[in-house]
Symmetry: none
Subunit: 195 residues, 4 copies
Amino acid sequence: MRTSDKHQKIIQAAIKVLANKGFFNARISDIAKEAQVADGTIYLYFNNKYDILITLFEEEIGKIIVLVKQLIEKETDPKIMLEIFALQHIKMMEEKKELAEVLQVELRQSNKFMKEYRNTKFIEYIDIVSHIIHLGQEKNIFRKDLLPGVAKRAFFGALDEMSRLWILSSSHRYTIEQSANQIVDIFLYGMTEKT
Amino acid sequence: MRTSDKHQKIIQAAIKVLANKGFFNARISDIAKEAQVADGTIYLYFNNKYDILITLFEEEIGKIIVLVKQLIEKETDPKIMLEIFALQHIKMMEEKKELAEVLQVELRQSNKFMKEYRNTKFIEYIDIVSHIIHLGQEKNIFRKDLLPGVAKRAFFGALDEMSRLWILSSSHRYTIEQSANQIVDIFLYGMTEKT
Amino acid sequence: MRTSDKHQKIIQAAIKVLANKGFFNARISDIAKEAQVADGTIYLYFNNKYDILITLFEEEIGKIIVLVKQLIEKETDPKIMLEIFALQHIKMMEEKKELAEVLQVELRQSNKFMKEYRNTKFIEYIDIVSHIIHLGQEKNIFRKDLLPGVAKRAFFGALDEMSRLWILSSSHRYTIEQSANQIVDIFLYGMTEKT
Amino acid sequence: MRTSDKHQKIIQAAIKVLANKGFFNARISDIAKEAQVADGTIYLYFNNKYDILITLFEEEIGKIIVLVKQLIEKETDPKIMLEIFALQHIKMMEEKKELAEVLQVELRQSNKFMKEYRNTKFIEYIDIVSHIIHLGQEKNIFRKDLLPGVAKRAFFGALDEMSRLWILSSSHRYTIEQSANQIVDIFLYGMTEKT
DNA sequence: GATGAATGAGCTTTCATTCAT
DNA sequence: GATGAATGAAAGCTCATTCAT
């Protein structure tokens, strides 16, 4: 009946199990047990184990993209947009710790075992940064000599590595906001002491 | 013994195979075939499949650390040290593409399936950046308000994400040197247009 | 009830599906779809998958027996009776090709997977030949030295193997009537050249 | 070491298990247990379950063909050749009861589940009869109006159905020789009483 | 030390059957 | 009576690891 009910239960269970065990060590029966359904039920909603992972990617990243875009749309200042993106990205890591773990680990290796899968949603997410940088350059706020392809990757990578730390270590010396602000600050003004 | 011919042959074969298939999809027999030894021979040199991966990590990252430290020791300017680290990191990605792939992908998920494994070598590598930043702060070249734990992760993450791009996409718009320089430049001086 | 609409629809669907896929490769859901009923509905009319096959055997062979007996009853000459049986048997193969396939293939292996099932209807069918031969012997038309158990099997086997050919190969060099007549002719007068 | 050893053990075990349970009900583990090897060992010698069956067909029918051809080659009289074929065929059924069961049942349905498999060995076996009939016609011993395609099928079918009886029922009223002779006799001289 | 045949535990997936609606 | 979502047992096959040679 409420089809989406089971679909969602399985996705959420998969996030939990995959975060703990990783894709290859996770058993379908683990996910089924976590979702409180029979093993076979999973195959009524997904074609196979990979399909769970891919669907999980698409849907969850999709939600994040929508959210981030909404928040950014209200702004006009690229600097603030970057701040919002950064804060939002790291925040998400804490609020959805398990999802974040899955995305960080499994997303990265997904092209290793799913040759044909082109992760367009992920690219769409990163390109949000791309757009902000372009905008900043147009508005003469960001340097014109920035290589857009490099800058977006650098910014995203910085945030992402920071997030990994946040996920893996249990005790933190700084708040999320501090970390996000620091990274944005570095990217905007550099690490060099103004003399 | 530890520099035994077979030991090295197996490690190098493992790098090749793991880069192509990933840890879980790689078969011991694949590695054995690539190394031109019998399956059983691998167990004369390694305890199990995980042990190959861990040994590979330790030894190969160890080599890189030695190399990078040597290059940096000669310098005194933290800015140039960062440049060297950046260039060296990205260069390594191209020169040892397969090793880079293994490190990027398998290293990240290793704690998922090897619960007890603490990746000290990797931390040692990142801490090279840490030291440089500290040095820069002491010399009043870098801002004092930099959170060292955050800055090092940000810098490493930026480089690493850039490298992933380099590994995964076949055609590149910029040279390695350009990319490395750009990242260092951003981290030193920021993305903001000087007015 | 037993002539219920659904009962018949399922049997006919089963014949079609089993002919194409064989008992073990056929899915209950295949039969249900073909019969345009829900999977569960099948279990309102049959106890289980085997029961469909057995019921199918009994009912369809039953129909054939009634038909053949009707045709033969009108005759008195055992030779012509054999001719009728032969023609009817092979004809049935063409007219009900799918049923014929199921009977030829599944019937033969049925005792393999349904240990307790004694296929009495099938024996009843073959015994029609038995009766004809007996009659011929009584009337001094057939040789007395015929071993009835052997002769009936030989005759039925000859027809049946011929039919298999008819079912499996698409192009035929001879008409059904030719084939049936030839077999009857051989059984009546032998293959030896009269000198 | 003695590779053929295990190969043969598995084939012989498969014959036994398949004869009792049929292909679909037979488990790989049943065959493995019967062959006294591990489940996995079977996959060192065969690609999959189907491959066991096909190899079994090819090898065992191949042996029979060689044997029958040897026996027939010594003869020149087509009548006696037919006798030899008949006797040999039915004899084989008794001596290798389990193999016979597998061939009778699984061979017939094999094209149902192995679409691509063309059973050339089986055709080669039946064509031995074909050749004998041709020879008999050339020598003016057999009637010229025999349709070779029909006659060979009829003869083989008669023998085969007879054999099935022999395999399935435990008590027999006639000896093998009697049955074989009777069938040859019918095919040579017909069932009709000579007046 | 080196080999590779043998092992067997373990996992994904299928599908006959059930039962709440 | 009819449905079809849900169940969960069961089996083919893989592959890390062992060990006799």
